[in-house]
Symmetry: C2
């Protein structure tokens, strides 16, 4: 089956950042077969869709999150971090069953799809359920069982086995839409020898690693106290970076640590909104980019954001570092767009498959309704998408050539029912 979208403004995010006015994108099954001007004739195609001069761009890639936690959206804001975690998040998360994870994940998937995210990372528990929901939804994801090692050895072992069984079972599943990673939760929640075991398992299974790192100043200080070194050096010593690694947050880093990350090609998931909201700080993104570190963006969970709209994250990464460093040319619009698409693909080792609109890649793309008032006058499509846009303006979403959102409506999921169930699940929590 060959489909052609015509009459769109195509942001390719290819190496030249080509923008094609009155452009078209053709795909056969799940692969892109044409990107260029709207052709004169198109009789080889089975289906023609008119984009009506709206913007066609790669689906956005969310490289860090805990999707099921959408059930806790707005549950406890504006609290000191330890109170938020210890008194609010952890007690409720301890009550999460597979059913909570199911409905929380579905709620997040609906939200992500409707705001133009086509690929996401999830680090959580009950991951079989998450993977099933990803399969069902038609989305693309890189999934990992986040492992906390503050427990007896036998529990550590069973968690690691569970994580690696999950990773093996689902890697490449759903026609390749699901990939998996191994995930020690963080240096402050996993003893060193446990991290080494997880890394060994990742090597054995040839899987990348996803880990929280240097999110707060407190975490860094604790690491020095406990292990005599800052987190980056600590993780390097433990061999983590011998595997392809994606670190989330990376807020508090010295220049030396940045060099270690660059040298090891460690990828960063920058979570600007969550880092602001939890008062963790502001990651040194301009320096990372200068050193050639691959910076992608993540929302973290909607409990600390409080939504999953990557357009907000994209605008924030373009704004925040200008203001903080008093540098109006820091992270220009095109860089922010690449961070949200191409760099996300690189961070997930999927750059050959997604992240830009190019022939041979997967047909993961979105149509943004840039005919709306927010995008007028209509002269600079990249600026408008980054600085004036919103995920709320996403109209159509395709993943692997299958349309998942049409005119703002989810096609594969029953949004109303999911919202009802998410509310019902929230009611089950004991909030004492």
């Amino acid at each position: 089956m060959k489909t052609l979208l015509i009459h769109g403004t195509v942001l390719t995010v290819n190496d030249q950042n080509d923008v094609i006015l009155d452009g078209a994108i053709g795909f056969e099954d799940d692969r892109i077969i044409y990107v260029g001007p709207t052709p004169e004739e198109f009789k080889e195609y089975d289906r023609i869709i008119d984009a009506g001069q709206r913007t066609i761009m790669p689906g956005l890639i969310n490289t860090h999150g805990h999707t099921a936690m959408s059930l806790l959206r707005g549950y406890a804001d504006d609290l000191p971090l330890q109170d938020w975690l210890e008194k609010k998040m952890w007690p409720l998360e301890a009550q999460f069953t597979a059913e909570h994870v199911k409905w929380g994940t579905l709620l997040s998937i609906v939200e992500m799809l409707k705001t133009g995210t086509t690929t996401f990372v999830d680090m959580y528990d009950h991951m079989d359920t998450v993977a099933q929901m990803v399969e069902l939804s038609g989305m693309r994801a890189s999934l990992c069982r986040g492992v906390i090692g503050l427990c007896p050895p036998d529990v550590q072992k069973s968690k690691l086995d569970e994580a690696s069984e999950f990773a093996q079972k689902w890697n490449g599943a759903a026609n390749g839409r699901i990939k998996t990673m191994m995930s020690p939760h963080g240096a402050y929640t996993c003893p060193p020898d446990y991290i080494e075991k997880i890394v060994a398992r990742a090597e054995e299974l040839d899987l990348p690693i996803h880990i929280h790192m240097s999110e707060t100043q407190f975490e860094v200080e604790q690491n020095i106290k406990d292990y005599g070194s800052r987190p980056v050096e600590h993780l390097e010593k433990l061999g983590v970076f011998n595997q392809p690694t994606l670190v989330a947050h990376a807020v508090h880093l010295t220049d030396e640590e940045l060099d270690i990350l660059a040298r090891n090609d460690v990828k960063v998931s920058h979570n600007p909104i969550s880092n602001l909201k939890l008062a963790s700080g502001i990651a040194p993104v301009p320096k990372m980019l200068e050193k050639g570190i691959c910076v992608s963006i993540g929302t973290d969970s909607s409990a600390s954001n409080n939504n999953l709209d990557l357009f907000e994250e994209m605008k924030m990464v373009a704004l925040l570092h200008k203001g903080v460093h008093l540098d109006p040319v820091a992270v220009p619009a095109i860089e922010a767009l690449r961070i949200a698409t191409r760099n996300g693909a690189k961070a997930l080792l999927m750059d050959q498959e997604i992240g830009s609109l190019e022939v041979g890649k997967q047909a993961d793309f979105i149509v943004v309704d840039t005919k709306q008032v927010y995008y007028q006058p209509s002269h600079d499509p990249i600026s408008h998408v980054v600085y004036a846009g919103s995920g709320r303006d996403v109209r159509d979403v395709f993943v692997a050539g299958t349309q998942l959102v049409k005119n703002g409506q989810c096609l594969t999921l029953d949004e109303e029912y999911i919202k009802e169930q998410a509310n019902r699940m929230f009611q089950t929590f004991n909030q004492e």
Copy 2:
């Protein structure tokens, strides 16, 4: 004519920040006559509107902007400030005619209305045209002819006369929906004696003053060089603060300057997104709030934002200061909501009339479609509106009891035609 909106979640933003679940708001002509639970019966009303459990809240108040500049949205991003101003903004602004101002203003009004702003400040030129458009649209505004005094005395005089004629003619017009201010553009664009003349005129006409102040470090340093004092002390000496004053930006301030502002009850329009984008810096908002300074929010123009969605500004003010000061309790959600509503009303000396939903006030309110996925689970309506919301979710807008937006469609303005004309006007610019 009496109207009752029923079955909404009402965020009153009254002194107690009351939230009314299954609430209602009744109004007769332009005034609120009831705020409370949805009544058992409502036969005294001529018209009943079911809010369908969506959120009813005060219209947002944008206390600083240059609405016509929406024509320059995205025209020149990511440039050093002086290049942006001198090579890009000023040459095109010099080409603005009344017709440019007309369509740029209408474009902005459509955008503001659709994203839930009911009152805005405009400091610009061709203000008669702006006022006519405000009257036509049904919106509420506080308008001023921004006066730049870097010109010969006769031109200074004619500008001041024009500004005060405009202010007199339109103050209280459009059934009181239009108020006016006097506006020396800034200490760096108006010589001291000219500022004194403008202040004298404001005193004579009993009008408040609106002025840019301490937006950039460069401006502060220049002020010290030119006049021997920082901007706040300088403006105080010139008698500006003897009139009620609203200053825009207020980014670079010492503690002493904050004290002067507090002592004189000077109101601040905080423009966080514009300040980040232009790399001006980050205003000391937590300190301002501590000192009891009235902080409201503004978008500045869409040339430096690049949209006019105050929900984005509201979220930014709640996020930014937490991250910058590493303080997770800085500017909690309710404070951000008050900044965007109640404080805006105070900043414009309209607190008796707007800013909260209370009996006797003007019926300026919006209905936000909080049944959408971004607001689930639905337990904390204030958090959700601030941290998860978007102006794109605004469904209905009422100003002075008249519905201006219904189900996302502008009722008083022809959006499609305005977008066409705004694009046409952009084409008229010589961009050499």
